[in-house]
Every structure is written in structure tokens, then in C-alpha cells.
Symmetry: C2
Subunit: 143 residues, 2 copies
Amino acid sequence: MNETVIPKPDYEAALREAGVRITRPRRVILGILSDAGDHPDAMEIFKRAVAIDTGISLSTVYRTMKLLEGIGAIHRHAFEGGPSRFEPAVGEHHDHLIDIDTGDVIEFQSDRIEELQQEIARSLGYDIVHHRLELYGRKRRKR
Amino acid sequence: MNETVIPKPDYEAALREAGVRITRPRRVILGILSDAGDHPDAMEIFKRAVAIDTGISLSTVYRTMKLLEGIGAIHRHAFEGGPSRFEPAVGEHHDHLIDIDTGDVIEFQSDRIEELQQEIARSLGYDIVHHRLELYGRKRRKR
DNA sequence: CTGTGTGCAAACCGTTTGCACTGAT
DNA sequence: ATCAGTGCAAACGGTTTGCACACAG
């Protein structure tokens, strides 16, 4: 019933390639990230990590996130008025719809919007380096 | 040479209507906001305020921003990795293109993108409460 | 054995808040 | 005269960093 089609990234290989050491805390954190179907923040990752290995510190979580972000293995999202939340950098580019009641994050993708953004930036004399499109919404009540 | 077509909001009237007192610090801050053609952050507003009246505190700037935001007179933007920046809530809704080299903010508007956002949210079963579209770019080099 | 990575505590930065005072109404 | 608003300093929450130790290579 849980048919994950999305490829799980091989973080360990990515790290090895980056020439850094594979330590116990890192392995634990990587495992959590591979399993995460959601967009957890650092504290949430820390809690899940401590449940596996009590010795892990929050600093290490932050340091590992920064490391993974640096090598492009994860994306950091600063949704409004909250801590950064992370997600594996796998699959196609997408944007986010955030449920303002639950904090749930739904991913979506629109080629048309991407094109329009390019056109707009172009017409203003800019090249887009990256962008951020977040919809904050509430589940429509059934009637 | 300074032909401002954009209407300047009458903050003082808005505040009076909100039933709050018009104090000296508030008057100074409101003046700064009316004159600001940019999107200053709290510290920047504070500096401009101190240049006019040395007695003003940063707390008051923050409190006044919160107050103005509450009555809908200004908008707060949390552009990436920086402090909140503010702008008068006048004119049509628009989104922002941020120059990643200078921090300059260019406003733009796209009905088409707004429509597409609505469609997307709708198809996911959500009503949009608000959204955030920010393009981070670099000026195209002339060739 | 070397030096990268770690845990811990302290520092950081933007922002908020408790307090006693000041000043708009 | 009242009490909303203020300046100040301390607290806050998320994140980063300096340090001495630990352990992957």
C-alpha cells in the first residue's frame, strides 16, 4: 500500500564523493532523511535522531543539513514564520502549497508558471537564479 | 523631477481610525514610511528615525510595524535569509523580483500567474489564503 | 596517527516582552 | 488624571560557532 516510486537518494555515496567522513551521527541523520516523507525541520530531525541514537546533538543536525545543502543533496525551505524545513533533492523541480492549519506541504508543478516567470524576469532585464512560489491555503470544505 | 504618481497613504488617518494615539515616535516613523521608495527593514527604518529624532528606540519601530501591519497599512516581506522588509500597502497586488547582488526589489504583476495559482490550489482541493512569489535574479549583462 | 567531526555551552541575530516612566487625550 | 505608548534591558527562538575531545581514515 506504500508504493514509493520516488527514487531515494544515496546520500552516503554523495557524501563519500564529496570527500567527507561517514560518521555514526551522519549515518543516522541520512537514514532519517531517506525515510522522511514529509518536510521536517532541524528540531524534528534531531528528535527522530535521538530516538535512534541518544548521543546526537542538534548542532550536528544543523551542520549536516548545511553540508547536504552545500552538495545539493537536500533543499532548504523557509516557509513563513517558522524554522527551515528540509527535503531530499530528488525528482523534478516543484513548488509548495502549505496547509495553514496543519503545516502539511503539498508539492505541485506548473511548467506554464515557470515559463511566465522567465518571461517576466527577462522583460525586466534579469536572469532568474532561483525562485520561491508558495501557496498558503486551507482545505476547501466539502458541500 | 520627483513626480510620484503612486498615492501616498495617509497613515495618520488610518491610525486615528484604529483608535490609537498619534505620538511623536509614530509620526516620525510614518513620515519615513511615506517617503520610502524602497523596502527598508526595521533597522534601516530605525536609523532613518534616529537621524530625525535621537530618542526613538528600535522596539518602537518594531511595535509600530506590527501595528501598521495589523491594520493592513503595510506589508511585511520575509525575503530569504534576511530581516523582514516593509512596504506601504498601496496600489495593486504585486510580487517581487529581488536583485541578489544589490538587494534591490522590483515589483511586478501577472494576472496569468495569479489565475494559474488559483487553478492549481483548486485542483488540490484548497483555497488560497495568501501566497508568496519571489524571483531571485541577477541583472542580465549587456552584450 | 592525523585531522575531520563531534557534543557542549556560549554567542549570535532579528524580534519580542516586562518593567517603570512619560506624555497624549 | 488616566492609561496607551515608550525606552531600556533582558528574554526569546532558531541557528551558528569556539573549544577540547573522539574516532574515521
